[in-house]
Each structure stands twice: as structure tokens, then as C-alpha cells.
């Protein structure tokens, strides 16, 4: 390490009380921000679980639909109309809805039922037990083995249950990329069986899943679906629409903003004040360094290094603490709805940079203002 930076490093870390206070302030702020945003990103991700797991390129839905969980039934002719549109390679129906199952011990459990197109089984999950063809067997259902699996009393192949007075049999155990948000077990079956077993309103078609012939056909398909009075969204658009719903229409976004601002203010006030005090306590000595022959840019470099070192250490500790907590939570709950992404990592990094900038700005100003003559004058 360059000598002058080593000097700055020793001045900083040897003042253990202040260095600890600085680290605690920044670590706490980063941790708070990372954790809140991780939870929110996790929630948004889990809220779009079905969209991610099915993986269709284009989703056709009623224009009033905001998320996959509040699907509004469409008449069957929509499927035929979409299939006849220009640019559509194929289109299949999807049922997605809630139901109540009666377990062997007599208790009732809410579940999410996904009904796949009988012909193609488009969007089927990856099986870890059983054979996908058995879904066509009488009363066949596939259970998803996620953190909610135990709520179905850990079923195995052949386990039975009742769904609206219909017998159901587990013929496969599957895994999916993303677990749902609401803590409900998921059952997959065929579209026909789903609409037959589950009490439904007049229209049963939740979504039409579309594969375009080419990416250039996507806009064309959207326009044709719009002309029909419905809405076509790409997978990413549907995920974004779901996220927008939670951000702007549930208060989640406001809460996130408030928590982010609080963590920023906490970090800024603790570290800003502590760092400024640290500079003030050493102000005369910085003046002495100036008198000895230190250039202003070297002093500014020392202060910026101290601020940056503290900030990066605090950032690392904050992110590490957040990661550790999420990992510990996942040991207990595999689908724990919190995930770190480059978005919140960058956001926290930006926040730390601002805290560092503001904290060091005040210190740098004071150090630049002090005149070596003041040291002589006493």
C-alpha cells in the first residue's frame, strides 16, 4: 500500500471506537436496504411464479387482469380466434385457479391448480418422480415438491385426496423454478380435468398461451388480440405488469421507498457525523501535516481513502449479513421470498457512495480550509 494511504488507514482503524461506529452505521444502512429490497424483489419474483414456470412467450388475458392469480375467465372462442391469427405458431389454453382439497386425515387445504393443455401439456413441470403420461390417467394430478409440499401431508405416488367431491390421485412429483407467493401447494393436471373438477363461472379459460412464428410477429399478434378486445403480453411484460401492480397498487412500493429512505438517513447520519467528528478531532494535525509540506490533494486523497475504505467494508459487511440471513432463512423455508439481484446491489452501492461523498465532503472542506498558520497561532 502506498505510504500515505497506509498512514490514512492507520489513522482510521487505530481509532477503534469511531471506526466501529462508522462501520456499524454503514453496515446497518446497507443491510436494511438490501434486506428490504431483497424481500420485495423476492415477493415480486414469487408473485410471477406461474408465468415463470410455464414459460410461454405470449400470454393472452382479459385486459383487467393485473396478476396471474386474479385471472378472469375468457370465452372459449378466444382460443380459436387466437389460433387463427397471423403469426401464431400455436396457441394452447391454460387454467389457473384456487381450489380446496380434502386430505386423507380429513383436513382441508387450499391449493393452486394449474390445468395444462390436454393435447400438448405445454408448460408442464419437470418431474422428479412418476411419468408425465400418467397425468392422463383417471383423476391424475402432479404435486409440486416445494416448501408447501408438506401441507399436502408429503404425498407420494398413489396418494389420494378429494377435490370438490372428486377423487384425486398423485401420479407424479415435480419441481419448478419458482415457488408461489401465497404459501399454497401447487397441483398440475389437464385443462379439461381442471375445469371439470373445480367449480367455475361461465367462462373457464384463464389464459391462452401463444408461441409466435417469429419474434417479429409479436407486435402483430398483440394488435390482433387487442382488436378482439383482449390483452396479449410477452412473458417479461406480464412479469413487469405483476410487479407494477405490487409496487404501485398495494402500497409495497411506498413501504419500500420509506424503508430505503430511512436506511439511507440512518447510515448518513451515523457515518456522516462520526466521520466529521473524526476529521474535526484530527483537524489541527492535518494542519500540521500541511505545514510540514503535505499538498492539499494528498490530504484530500487520505480523507477520500478513509471514507471509501469504510464505505466498502461496510458495504461488504451489510451485503454479507443480508446474504447470511437469507441463507439461514432458506435453511428453514426453502422458498423464502427474498432474493438479491444486481438491482438492489447497485442501489445499495449507490447509496453508500452518496453517504461516503456527503460524509467526506464536509471533512474535506474543513481540511482544505485549515491554514497551517492556524497551527502556529494556536
Amino acid at each position: 500500500m502506498k505510504g500515505i494511504l497506509k498512514l490514512a488507514y492507520k489513522l482510521l482503524v487505530n481509532d477503534r471506537a469511531k471506526f466501529t461506529a462508522l462501520l456499524v452505521g454503514i453496515t446497518f444502512a446497507v443491510f436494511l436496504m438490501m434486506f428490504v429490497t431483497s424481500m420485495f424483489i423476492g415477493v415480486l419474483n414469487h408473485a410471477s411464479a406461474t408465468v415463470i414456470n410455464i414459460g410461454a412467450s405470449i400470454w393472452v388475458m382479459d385486459p383487467a387482469v393485473q396478476t396471474i392469480t386474479n385471472s378472469i375467465g375468457m370465452p372459449d372462442y378466444v382460443l380459436d380466434a387466437v389460433r387463427s391469427m397471423h403469426g401464431v405458431k400455436y396457441a394452447v389454453p391454460l387454467y389457473s385457479g384456487g381450489a380446496l382439497v380434502k386430505l386423507p386425515d380429513g383436513t382441508y387445504q387450499s391449493v393452486t391448480v394449474v390445468g395444462l393443455d390436454d393435447t400438448t401439456l405445454f408448460g408442464r413441470p419437470q418431474l422428479i418422480q412418476g411419468n408425465i403420461r400418467d397425468i392422463y390417467a383417471e383423476n391424475g394430478f402432479i404435486a409440486v415438491k416445494d416448501s408447501e409440499f408438506s401441507k399436502l401431508e408429503n404425498p407420494h405416488l398413489g396418494s389420494e385426496f378429494e377435490l370438490n367431491d372428486h377423487r384425486g390421485v398423485i401420479v407424479g412429483i415435480a419441481t419448478v423454478t419458482t415457488a408461489g407467493l401465497y404459501g399454497l401447494p401447487t397441483l398440475y393436471t389437464t385443462y379439461e380435468r381442471a375445469v371439470q373438477y373445480i367449480p367455475n363461472p361461465r367462462y373457464t379459460l384463464s389464459n391462452v398461451l401463444v408461441e409466435p412464428k417469429s419474434p417479429q410477429d409479436i407486435d402483430r399478434i398483440k394488435q390482433q388480440v387487442a382488436a378482439l378486445g383482449y390483452l396479449a403480453l410477452t412473458k417479461d411484460e406480464f412479469i413487469r405488469r405483476t410487479a407494477d401492480f405490487y409496487v404501485y397498487q398495494t402500497g409495497g412500493g411506498t413501504n419500500l421507498l420509506i424503508m430505503t429512505v430511512i436506511s439511507f438517513v440512518v447510515g448518513l447520519s451515523i457515518s456522516g457525523q462520526t466521520f466529521y467528528t473524526f476529521i474535526l478531532e484530527n483537524l489541527e494535525r492535518f494542519g500540521a501535516l500541511k505545514a510540514i509540506g503535505t499538498k492539499n490533494r494528498d490530504l484530500v486523497g487520505m480523507i477520500l481513502f478513509q471514507a471509501a475504505f469504510t464505505a466498502m467494508t461496510g458495504y461488504g459487511l451489510g451485503v454479507g449479513l443480508c446474504t447470511l440471513l437469507i441463507c439461514l432463512a432458506r435453511l428453514r423455508l426453502a422458498s423464502y421470498a427474498a432474493m438479491e439481484s444486481y438491482v438492489n446491489l447497485l442501489l445499495a452501492f449507490g447509496m453508500v457512495l452518496i453517504i461516503t461523498g456527503v460524509s467526506s465532503y464536509a471533512g474535506v472542506r474543513r481540511v482544505l480550509q485549515i491554514e497551517p498558520f492556524d497551527i502556529f497561532r494556536g
Binding site: G3, K6, E284, I292, G293, T294, E371, I375, F376, R377
Partner: protein
């Protein structure tokens, strides 16, 4: 031969208009290498201002100041900082040691500022601490040292860069009489040499015996010069 310090017609004032305070009035002085020059006088007479102007810390309003033949106030800020670092050593009244650095690190600061290797700087600092009588104290923080010992660390810090000019501002002000006397005796015996000039600002008449010359200041003027 080049004078260590040569100043002519130096004026310095603070403020403007009715608030104007004149600190130095047409000051002229010369100091030779091998001399230990004392500047004495009552508080407010301009001693510290003169010391600051001579050492390149405070720009005078008018006048010429040459240190080792260099017109220091014609230098840029960075050049002047480098000049101070390489040519002038400072011993401050309150030492201004960093409490979070140990004794050797404090003493080594000028070498570190000169971008010398850290370990080499520490070895050099230990050598200078040895010279000022603080052998074996290199790892102690300044707070574990007495006032006299802290002043010795400050002297080691001032001397480690081998400056030609040593500036001492009230070096005995924070010390008891015996310690102050011992410190100046040490400086006179071990630090002063034919290639070095030492300028001391002091109120302490008990250390006058070590001066080569004593300049008396009053109201911003040098009013008297006498050999000690």
C-alpha cells in the same frame, strides 16, 4: 556564501479598513547556517507571524524572503509545499503528534510524505528516536510518553528529513523548566551544525543561553539584535 534566511521589507497585515491589524512592519533579518537565532518579544509582537512568513506558511503582503537563496514566495503552492517538506523542519508548540499512530510512525511522517518505503521509513524513524534519546519507545503511542518525550518525538519528526532549516515555535511552552532546558541543550548540542540554521520563537528566558543571536520584536518590528 548563501544565507540560510534573508528577508527584507516584509510587511504583513490582517483585515482591511478599520479592522486592519498590522502584524509585521518593514521587517528585515538574516540568518546564517550554523546559527541558532531566537525571536523573542511580548505576545502580539508578531513573532509567530514572522516565523510563518519565513517558513513559507503565510504569504506576506510585501517584501522579499529568500531561504537558501530561493525566493520562496515566487514558488507555486505545490512547489512551496515540496520546499517545506525537503528544506524545513517544524517543531510545534503543542507537538501535534497523531495519538493513533505510534512514536515511530509519527516521527516517520515526513519520509512517508516524500513517498519513501514504509518499512525503510520506520527503520529511519527508530534511528532518529534513538538519537533524541527515545530508544525502545518506537512502538508506544504518544499518550504513553511524558511532555518532554513527546517534544523529542516532534524533534525527531522535524529532523528525519534532514532539513537545513529548523523552525521551533515555543518549544518549551508545554514543558517544565528543567525539561525545556534539557531539550534545547540537546538541540544545541546534537541538532545544530554548520550546515543547519535553527530559528526559535520563545518567551522562555531560561533557554537564552543556547542562542547565537536574539532578535527582539515589538509591534511588528525588530527592535533589537544582540548576541547571547
Amino acid at each position: 556564501m548563501t544565507k540560510a534566511i534573508q528577508a527584507t521589507g516584509v510587511n504583513k497585515w490582517f483585515g482591511e479598513g478599520e479592522a486592519k491589524t498590522v502584524a509585521l512592519r518593514d521587517v528585515a533579518l538574516e540568518a546564517e547556517f550554523g546559527e541558532m537565532v531566537y525571536i523573542v518579544g511580548p505576545s502580539g509582537s508578531g513573532k509567530t507571524t514572522l516565523l510563518s512568513v519565513l517558513s513559507g506558511i503565510l504569504r506576506p503582503n510585501s517584501g522579499n524572503i529568500s531561504v537558501e537563496g530561493v525566493d520562496i514566495w515566487s514558488l507555486s503552492a505545490d512547489q512551496l509545499a515540496d520546499f517545506r517538506l525537503n528544506k524545513i523542519g517544524f517543531v510545534f508548540q503543542d507537538y501535534h503528534l497523531f495519538p493513533r499512530l505510534n512514536t515511530a510512525e509519527n516521527a516517520a511522517i515526513p519520509l512517508i510524505l516524500k513517498k519513501r518505503d514504509w518499512d525503510e521509513s520506520m527503520r529511519e524513524a527508530a534511528k532518529y528516536l534513538d538519537i533524541v534519546g527515545l530508544k525502545g519507545r518506537a512502538d508506544l503511542p504518544p499518550v504513553k510518553l511524558s511532555g518532554g518525550e513527546q517534544q523529542r518525538v516532534a524533534i525527531a519528526r522535524a529532523m528525519i528529513g534532514e532539513p537545513d532549516i529548523l523552525i521551533m515555535d515555543e518549544p518549551t511552552a508545554s514543558l517544565d523548566g528543567d525539561t525545556g532546558h534539557a531539550i534545547l541543550k540537546f538541540v544545541h548540542k546534537n541538532i545544530l551544525n554548520p550546515n543547519r540554521c535553527i530559528v526559535v520563537v520563545t518567551h522562555d528566558s531560561r533557554i537564552y543561553e543556547f542562542a547565537s543571536r536574539i532578535l527582539t520584536m515589538e509591534d511588528g518590528r525588530i527592535t533589537g539584535t544582540r548576541a547571547a
